[in-house]
Symmetry: C2
Subunit: 223 residues, 2 copies
């Protein structure tokens, strides 16, 4: 069975876990905190980042959340997640980059640094200015999600796919860290509620990071 090196609040690990669940790929979870800089992990992935997916005895080691998702899109035909044709697939990949890079830089990394890393590792208080900035940026991203949903059933097009998986992975981490104010975003809420109700996503919502509790609405379908 594949072994996935990951940790609960890593948005890139969540993206891979959600995608593997949708494609029904059996895998075992191994907890890896990248900031521990464990030698054996750095030997596997010199970038030192989660997620890493390894076959038994490390005969195959897949690194980088997008490379992992593309690998299973190529090798497992059931439940295509990227879209039907090359243009649909380009649009899905554009949105995956949007959330992996733009949302992560403007929201995720700020919340993870200020509300998780500072608390668990440094026992320090978050910087209120950076949290406000993350909050303003979340608004822009929720607006963009609603713009997309004005034109489409799901973020990437008519069918559920990797754009939704990737967006939900990043947003769920921000939501766990109490960084998402859903007020006034009925359409985005409706989309996220549909995601939350998927049996492939519910195990993620049930997990907790020790020493860090999510807000009460976090795993509720009606929030």
């Amino acid at each position: 069975m594949w072994q996935l090196y990951q940790y609960t609040l890593c948005p890139f690990s969540r993206k891979v876990r959600f995608a593997l669940a949708e494609k029904a790929i059996p895998h075992e979870l191994l907890r890896e905190l990248p900031w521990d800089r464990r030698d054996e992990f750095t030997d596997m992935n010199p970038a030192g980042q989660t997620p890493v997916l390894a076959a038994p005895n490390n005969t195959t080691v897949l690194i980088d959340s997008s490379a992992i998702c593309e690998y299973f899109e190529e090798t497992v035909e059931r439940t295509p997640l990227l879209g039907a044709g090359p243009i649909d697939r380009a649009e899905t990949r554009r949105l995956v980059s949007w959330f992996d890079q733009k949302f992560y830089a403007e929201v995720g990394v700020l919340l993870l640094q200020e509300r998780m890393y500072k608390r668990l590792v440094h026992r320090a208080s978050p910087d209120a200015t950076l949290l406000r900035q993350a909050g303003r940026n979340v608004e822009v991203h929720l607006d963009y999600i609603e713009y997309l949903l004005d034109h489409r059933r799901w973020l990437g097009g008519p069918t559920f796919g990797l754009a939704d998986i990737c967006a939900a992975a990043h947003i769920s981490v921000a939501d766990y860290l109490n960084g998402v104010d859903w007020t006034g975003h009925a359409e985005a809420k409706q989309w996220y509620s549909a995601i939350k109700s998927r049996p492939t996503f519910r195990p993620l919502l049930a997990e907790r990071m020790e020493g860090l509790a999510p807000p009460a609405h976090y795993d509720k379908l009606d929030f």
Copy 2:
């Protein structure tokens, strides 16, 4: 013909230009400076970033350098750039992410900010501390390139491909901005010299950004 919105020192645009040249896809270059925040460009790409590749009359608009490269890998069979099998392709994608994200964050964005943007837009002096940091980081990346080349003919495996294209795009921008000290990196130099001699890459090396000259060795095959 496709129209590519780009600017000379954008590493992501260089990656797409190099890949399009290798695949012999005809395209016209349009100069787009993202910091001008031109309305028509933001309408095309709400992320506001280059490169964007548009078909005539914007009937198709491809956004994000990796999405563009994957599109042509899927639709144009000649000169495959990602590798032969799914595992080779996963390795290529891992390295593309390495350079697009890690090299760019640790080297490219610092040099572009300090040596290009500050000079052309703000007429300000670069921050010497950040430049030193970029210089130290370049060393680590050249070492990693040489580690890869100890085991392989090209960065991604036995054949030239998108890992080389992506690495060369990012490194050439850093080199233009005088951010690469090649001393003591004979193996990386040999690889980059082979890249520099490719007819598909030479047009990039011949270009100049107004107001910003590269060092003398920049476009020389023997450097």
